[in-house]
């Protein structure tokens, strides 16, 4: 009897999972709607916002946040947080800066060393998480505080100030500038090359997540660790790789910043880690892991960029920005909650 009802009603039930519900299951849908609304809102308020110069202006903060958000989204889908991600951007820049300007290390060697340092931090984060099985929140809170202290302590020790400067005087700065901080003029406005890297990161991250074995493992590790282990997913390798990916992104952003600003504050990156998580959550990542989207996280970063600049263009006090961001985060979390319940509900 059951088989008859099962096979007989096949087609009609496919139709029942309608287009709307199907779209709702796409994690990035909410952020896309949000981005359109935010754009429309500020575009209506300000001419400059929708001009080429305005676009270049709000794409700039969106791009550096977006590159981090892509990595953080992958990590969150894999079921983890990295509170040390923000401060690692500072660590990368300070390491490169001190090695080149104070110790005269060859530029490329210095960059390589700071990259290796970041990857090592990512490895340690991941290793501790998989070994101790403690929440990544607490492990990376520890590395966050340690790095925060190190960044300040080492910078003061070496420079007697809290800033590493003169990065533009190192050998090969022109090449670095071309890679990390050149500008392209389109329609009379200069766009940062970071926007291009952001797009590359989004496409690459999304491809890995949706089209590779590794991507399947990310979903599995975040969705149900025991199940993933039972079917032979290399759980530890996947988790450690995700932490190292986040560290790589932090190195990239840290390097971009010191190249662009030619100096770096010892406190650079503090507090940014939460903004990355906000972008990923607005983009549809569940805090509990196993669900989310790289494209969504990038759109989350876009919303961040548009709001932060839009408020200025609208002539409001910039303090309102945090309020907007918080409200958007709450809305996104509520929407995610609903989607998750829908996705997990059994239709018996």
């Amino acid at each position: 009897m059951t088989s008859a009802t099962l096979t007989g009603a096949g087609d009609e039930r496919v139709a029942r999972v309608g287009l709307v519900k199907r779209l709702l299951l796409k994690p990035e849908l909410g952020s896309l709607i949000g981005a359109v609304l935010v754009f429309g809102f500020f575009a209506a308020l300000s001419d400059v916002f929708r001009s080429a110069r305005g676009v270049a202006n709000w794409l700039d903060p969106a791009s550096s946040l977006g590159i981090m958000a892509v990595a953080v989204a992958l990590l969150m889908i894999g079921g983890h947080f990295d509170l040390s991600a923000g401060v690692q951007t500072g660590t990368a820049a300070i390491t490169s800066g001190l090695l080149t300007t104070y110790y005269g290390v060859n530029t490329w060697v210095a960059l390589l060393l700071s990259l290796l340092l970041c990857l090592a931090i990512g490895f340690i984060n991941g290793y501790l998480v998989v070994r101790t099985k403690l929440p990544s929140f607490i492990i990376t809170l520890g590395t966050f505080l340690m790095l925060q202290g190190l960044n300040l302590g080492v910078t003061k020790l070496v420079t007697n100030t809290v800033v590493v400067s003169n990065f533009n005087q190192i050998v090969g700065y022109d090449v670095l500038k071309a890679i990390f901080a050149s500008e392209v003029t389109i329609a009379g406005a200069s766009f940062q090359i970071a926007i291009l890297w952001w797009i590359v990161a989004t496409v690459l991250g999304s491809w890995v997540l949706l089209r590779t074995r590794f991507g399947n493992w990310i979903f599995a590790v975040g969705g149900d660790l025991t199940a993933a282990r039972n079917v032979g997913v290399p759980v530890q390798r996947t988790t450690i790789a995700l932490f190292m990916t986040t560290s790589f992104a932090a190195w990239f952003i840290g390097t971009t910043q010191i190249v662009r600003l030619t100096s770096i504050q010892a406190q650079a990156g503090f507090g940014q880690e939460l903004i990355y998580i906000v972008a990923a959550v607005i983009g549809g990542c569940l805090l509990t892991g196993g669900f989310g989207s790289v494209v969504g996280a990038s759109i989350g970063a876009l919303i961040f960029g548009m709001t932060s600049q839009g408020i200025v263009y609208a002539g409001w006090d910039a303090d309102w920005f945090k309020f907007f961001l918080g409200a958007m985060l709450l809305l996104a979390v509520l929407a995610n909650q609903y989607i998750r319940r829908f996705a997990e509900q059994s239709r018996r």
């Binding site: 009897m1 149900d224 199940a227």
Partner: protein, 271 residues
């Protein structure tokens, strides 16, 4: 029932102790390709220990396992899988938020392309999932839907289909019907039959003789780590199976006890 060919799996005098606790003592049975051997027993009868030995989690302290007539050592779960023994656990090893086709190939994803462009062959995964489930008579509305939207019985069925696809010769099902309603249990029993008809040997662990009897070809009854009997279907009736399963004499005693004790005036459970 070709008696010339050695059985797919033969268990001989299996013994396992944990410290001073004897979990299994001298348990024997056989599983033939295309047949279902049911392992019945109450809680603590040694069913879980038996599964864990067969799936390579524990090593037996005595006795031997023969596959196709040859002795085998199952040192770890991988060795059991390589020998073609697939275990479908109660917790199912599926990720609720992931699509069926992603779950189906989880850990063994087919790939195409080379080098850095090696990627998950989604088309093949989708098509294979649809076909394999179809072959088992499982009608899924859409392989792209999350496993979490499936009912318990459907999830069991997908897990069985997955084991069949990945070359299992012997399927161990750990109480697949225990958490299910009557209808859903019927669905799962039907898929067990489908796996059997594909030529797999099946070990079906349950404590419900009404699920075991219609589908079983052989019954191993366990009680407190000991075998109460290893019987072919022709040697036992459902009534007898139920009686043995419930501890035989113990149940009769219990029935008496319940009958003799209406002192509180309340209605007692009738057997």
């Amino acid at each position: 029932m070709s008696s010339e060919k050695p059985p797919l799996l033969e268990i001989r005098e299996l013994t396992k102790t944990f410290g001073s606790v004897i979990s299994l003592s001298g348990v024997s049975t056989t599983v033939r390709a295309g047949e279902v051997t049911c392992v019945l027993g109450d809680n603590g009868a040694g069913k879980s220990t038996l599964i864990k030995i067969l799936s390579g989690v524990h090593r037996p302290d005595g006795g031997e396992l023969l596959m196709d007539g040859k002795p085998v050592q199952l040192g770890n779960p991988r060795a059991a899988l390589d020998a073609g023994i697939a275990t479908v656990y109660q917790d199912l090893a599926m990720v609720p938020l992931m699509a069926i086709w992603r779950n189906f190939f989880l850990g063994s994803e087919p790939t195409k392309g080379w080098g850095p462009f090696r990627r998950f062959d989604r088309q093949r995964a989708l098509e294979t999932t649809r076909r394999e489930l179809g072959d088992m008579g499982i009608d899924i509305r859409d392989p792209d839907q999350p496993v979490g939207t499936l009912s318990g019985g459907e999830r069991q069925s997908v897990a069985i289909a997955r084991a069949v696809h990945f070359g299992a010769r012997l399927l161990i099902l750990d109480e697949p019907t225990s958490a299910l309603g009557v209808k859903q249990a019927g669905v799962v029993l039907r898929y067990i039959a489908a796996a059997r008809d594909k030529g797999l040997g099946v070990i079906f662990i349950t404590h419900n003789p009404h699920h075991a009897y219609p589908i079983g070809d052989r019954f191993l009854l366990l009680n407190r780590g000991k075998s109460l009997g290893d019987l072919a279907k022709s040697e036992i009736s459902l009534a007898e199976l139920t009686r043995l399963m419930a501890g035989g004499a113990e149940l009769e005693e219990l029935a008496h006890e319940l009958e003799r004790d209406p002192s509180t005036g309340e209605k007692t459970a009738t057997p």
